[in-house]
Amino acid sequence: MDKNITFDDIDLGDEIGPSNKVITTEQVFEFVKILESKIEPSRFTDSEFAKSEGLSGPIVPGALTTAVMAQFISNWAPNLKIKTLDVIFRHMVPHNTRLKLVGIFTDKFTEDGLDQLECDVFLQDENEVKLVIGKSTIIVNKK
């Protein structure tokens, strides 16, 4: 949508997306560099290390996945403010694979004078398997 929305614009059942995304190995390395000055082999950065932990390959850090889901919401409408985003990791998110983000509004209410929305957010693989599921509470800022 990429435009400001109002509280009244949203009905329960309205959807966000879908939006396609690939989280590349380069992006994972950039993310890990924020935390570590020297990147050590890990399940996030090294194929052999990941395989030694029983994974099929290196995976995307959960914090990065969460950030991507938050970005998906905030990109949709700039005047939304994410109050909470609570995620559940159901499956590993591999590097360099096609991902799809979708959201669906499940509740709307006004609390403490703030117009708020609740939204289920899903990060899926290309078979529509939900890899990460989340619930976000979003404040709709006045225009």
Binding site: L12, G13, I104, D120
Partner: protein
């Protein structure tokens, strides 16, 4: 009577949906023309006798029943008709309880245990069905809203090979997932005892949400 027989509220550690939110969402689905009469809460590894959903159920004309999803040595089982007598014989949080014991306890106490998502890779009942004497099992969860590719096919084969009957449940952990898979009963189901009776009569079938319009 159309019920979602497999749902999780925030009482389950991996769910983010409250019962109140499920109720609100079912009302949204009803306004869109879908037909859902209610749901059964099947929390992971627990059963709370004290929680009472009668008022919210009446206020919204939505049947809300309680069951459990229990871990066993032969996969997860949906259990309906749990009583305090049953609770004396099983530990709900035992992740490796004997499935045979669970099934027997249920049969002897007016309850029923049904393999959940039997086609699931790794933990589905299909992995264990030939490892023990499960002749008293005749119903499995046919439709599950959380299946990955290939798991539904495995379930179809299991049902075909063994001649099982099937139920449907969304396995909802998020608000918008409730009702995606359901069970349609020929007779009314107003409480847990009637649910067990309805399952025993074998007059039910699994359906998807889109089939209820």
């Amino acid at each position: 009577m159309i019920l979602d027989l497999h749902t999780h509220s925030t009482l389950s550690d991996d769910s983010r949906a409250s019962v109140e939110q499920y109720v609100k969402w079912i009302n949204v689905l009803r306004r869109k023309g879908y037909n859902i009469d209610g749901f059964v809460l099947t929390e992971h590894r627990q059963f709370n006798f004290d929680i009472d959903y009668t008022q919210i159920s009446k206020d919204n004309n939505i049947t809300i029943l309680k069951g459990a999803e229990l871990d066993t040595d032969s996969g997860h089982f949906l259990v309906y008709g749990i009583t305090k007598e049953i609770a004396k014989h099983i530990k709900f949080n035992n992740v490796n309880m004997s499935a045979i014991h669970l099934i027997d306890v249920c049969l002897n106490n007016g309850a029923i245990a049904i393999p959940a998502h039997p086609g699931r890779f790794g933990i589905g009942f299909i992995e264990y069905v030939n490892s023990n004497n499960f002749e008293s099992i005749n119903i499995v969860e046919h439709l599950n809203g959380s299946y990955r590719p290939g798991e539904q096919d495995r379930t179809e084969k299991l049902i075909s090979d063994k001649g099982y009957l099937g139920i449907g449940g969304s396995d909802a952990h998020m608000v918008s997932a409730i009702g995606t898979c359901l069970t349609k009963f020929d007779h009314p189901v107003n409480n847990e005892k009637e649910l067990v009776q309805a399952l025993m009569t074998k007059k039910f079938k699994p359906i998807k949400l889109e089939d209820t319009k």
